[in-house]
Amino acid sequence: MVNLTIDDKQVTVPKDATIYDAAKAAGIRIPILCHDKKLHPFGGCRMCLVEVEQMKGRQIPACTTPVTEGMIVRTSTPDIIQARKMVLELLLLKHPIDCPVCDAAGDCDLQNLTYEYKVNANRFTDEKFQHKIDYENPLIERDMNRCIHCGKCARICDEIVSYGAYSFLNRGLEAKIGTEFDGPLNCEFCGSCVSVCPVGALLSRPFKFKARWWALSKTKTVCSYCGTGCQLTLGIKDGKVLTTIYDENQGFHNGQLCTRGRWGYQFVNSDKRLTTPLIRKNGKLVQASWEEALSAVKERLFSAKTAGGESAACLVTPRLTNEELFVLKKLFNVALGSQNIDHSAGYAHNALSAGALESLGYAASPSTIADIQKTNLLLVVKSDAYETHPVLGFEINLGVKRKGVDLRVVSDKRGKLSRLPDATTYVHKPGSEVLLFNAMARVIIGENLVDAGASSISGLAELKNSLQGYAPEKVAEACGMSADEIIVLARDYAKAEKALIMLPLGLGYPGHGKDLAQALINLALLTGKIGKEGCGVLIMGEKNNSQGAVDMGVYPAKGGKDAVAILDGCAAGTVKTLYVVGENPVVSYPNRKAVEAALDKVEFLIVQDLFLTETAEKAHVVLPACSFAEKDGTFTSVGKVIQRVNRAIAPVGLSRSDFEILNALYAACANTQPYADVAAVFAEISENVPAYKGISYAGLGENGVIWPAGGTPRFVPAEGGAVQGESGKYALLTGSALNHCGTLSRFGEGPMYVCPAGYAELSYTDASALKVKNDDLLTLKSASGEVRLKAKVSARMPQGVIFAPYHFGEESVNTLTTGAPVTWVNVSK
């Protein structure tokens, strides 16, 4: 610790603090323009000048100068104020000062400081900048005339996002921020640069001219896309969500968002939202009143109840809040007497609900998000972890670049993570993950790298036995890696003091199920890497409340049907009433033809959704539900964080929150009183779900609570076989595109500007063999169907492997897939 005096105040701060940090700790505000707490010190703007007595009163920047013992600092002498005024005058010299038409006004550091320092006139004169303004980009408007050269955009894009879209072009007066060769901006569109730009040089185009900052009301809530659980501030005017607002003090991610969270909010007030219930009459869906729609639903549910409940089934999306899922489960299990309830096609939660549950004693990850930056070695399963959970990708970037984390990516294709400094990517053959991790376990046992504590965990002998056939030399061929690589990876993993494994789940990843999770947990248990800081396995649920859906037990128990069995039941006629809440199986579950046939067959289909999705079009009754912005409740995200979701606007049209609908149905079917409110359900959850014991709704606070995990681990052998290739065919891998999450993001304009349709990504070698270029149409044909997708040629794909995102309804890839980890397809032009 270092002691110093700032403006006559005694301050004690850590020795790596700067004068700026020390002043902040003492409650003294030093004005800044180019400094950002998330970025390395830069010292470019000279707004933060202070005087240090020991330096003979020289003016030095507070944001880059480290504190020293006994320093005496003055932050606002007349000389300093004079100097700061001059800085502002010079900044304003070539600045357009078009605040009346600049969207930053009201939230502009330059404007605020100019006002604060009363810079009313300029001693100097010069021509204004005449840079061309980029109006073409659909998401980010770049007006470099307003740029003050703080470099924050370029620095955040490099340091945190690791994309590197911008840098300074030219020198001196000509200097400006630009993209490579000053071309159009074509990046990840995470919007980080827009959020840190202190002026109006980088602006959100979808929000352009929509409202003034001071006219927006703000609501803090949680992003409703992926399982990362980023906190979000919504900007609302006239009952509409108009934008997302950056708040550098929000959440573990300091306000950073990914492209979906930042630009995908438009689905909330989309004019495609369902605003009234619909009922099928004479084969057509027509508008109906809530009374009519609910009584039709109740009638069906009552008759299912009388018949014993078995004929009713439910497929629900893990986008609902915990409270809604809890009431829905009660509606089925208690009120109707049906155990047929499942989510995420069954396989996308198996890693948790079956794998972790059996191996660890609880259905969740043993690790938390904070472990990413605390570990020494990070083993990421699939480079897609970046696309599925982009803000966790930022955590990985920071871990690698700032904390020196040794990154190993084990994947069937390369990806953005592979390009991080010193990252090692092991590209294996599609579908061979379990084989590979079992081989690693075998090496660890064979080389006696097993942790002493592992012998007290039951099942070690069986595990050893089961691994006999997985010698690296034997499986190397099937994995497409050399035995040496497997051995070295196993050794490095075992010997690392702290090591964390990250496993993304999702509807696009049918192979990421129970076996893979267990193979990974076995590795961690063998090497004693569970239950310690910076260690463990982070199993990343796909959707905003995937972990919550598992916590609430929204999967079949006591002989109930799982998602596949439910759809089979619909086709066979044993399931007569299917209640689909928020899921869109027609697009997102494997085997579109079979799903459609099942939904066409079922006697009565109720769909509750925000939009008339491909699934809702088949319904007999459609109930319009609310988005996350219209709800109160809780989501549980990756790493078991329970966070509050807060209502920002009133329900759109006549839509009702899933809670309201389900609460009414539950009360009617169970013949009891409805719950008073969401908090009452949460109270019941904390009584009934052991993990949530002692946690109260009010006690969640702004940052949420991590529920404590505890259980008895054991080794469960994981079965993994080699995936047999089919000659002449390509291995089709499905997954997530960076701009999308599930099928919801299609209704947000932002993601659709950048990624409006599906594509088939293939290697240069394959592309030249097939004689295709970017955007040529390819025909992909599997045993179950055929689609035509635009080709996207990229350097990251191995030969013979094709990647296609699963989010899109037209030419949907689930026409080809049947739920196997790899689908073999014929490809032609």
């Binding site: 605040c99 009346p100 038409v101 006004a105 303004i133 109006y135 352009k208 001219f209 929509k210 409202a211 003034r212 001071w214 006219a215």
Partner: protein, 132 residues
């Protein structure tokens, strides 16, 4: 007793010889002094409303009677796609004129604002545009 009466009469008579201040409105028109705050007008320059939809007047307006909606024109410039003042709520304080950074709005000497329907008191951009 008589004195107060006479004093009263004196005042009455003295007024008979002074200039009348009652205006025979509407036959006589008032002489409106400069700085009078009547109905607003939107100033025009280069055949376009000068207003750039900065939202300062709706922000400053204490009666909250101004509605502005910004739009983006073909040159990507900001303009008021909608500009409305609800004259039933306006208190003629003139703050909007003072706030305007581009001298786009002023107050005219039009004070005869009576009308038959409430809706007719909402002045739209077209009706507010300065008449040439």
């Amino acid at each position: 007793m008589i004195m107060p009466l006479l004093q009263g009469l004196k005042i009455t008579f003295s007024h008979m010889f002074k200039k009348t201040i009652t205006l025979q409105y509407p036959h006589e028109r008032p002489n409106i002094p400069p700085g009078f705050r009547g109905l607003h007008a939107l100033n025009v320059s280069h055949d376009k409303a000068k207003c750039v939809a900065c939202y300062l007047c709706p922000t400053v307006c204490p009666a909250k009677c101004i509605t502005v909606e910004a739009g983006e024109d073909a040159n990507h410039d900001k303009y008021a796609a909608k500009y409305e003042i609800d004259m039933l709520r306006c208190i003629f304080c003139g703050y909007c004129v003072e706030a305007c950074p581009v001298d786009a709005i002023r107050m005219t000497d039009t004070f005869e604002l009576a009308n038959m329907k409430r809706a007719d008191f909402v002045f739209t951009k077209e009706t507010l545009l300065e008449k040439k």
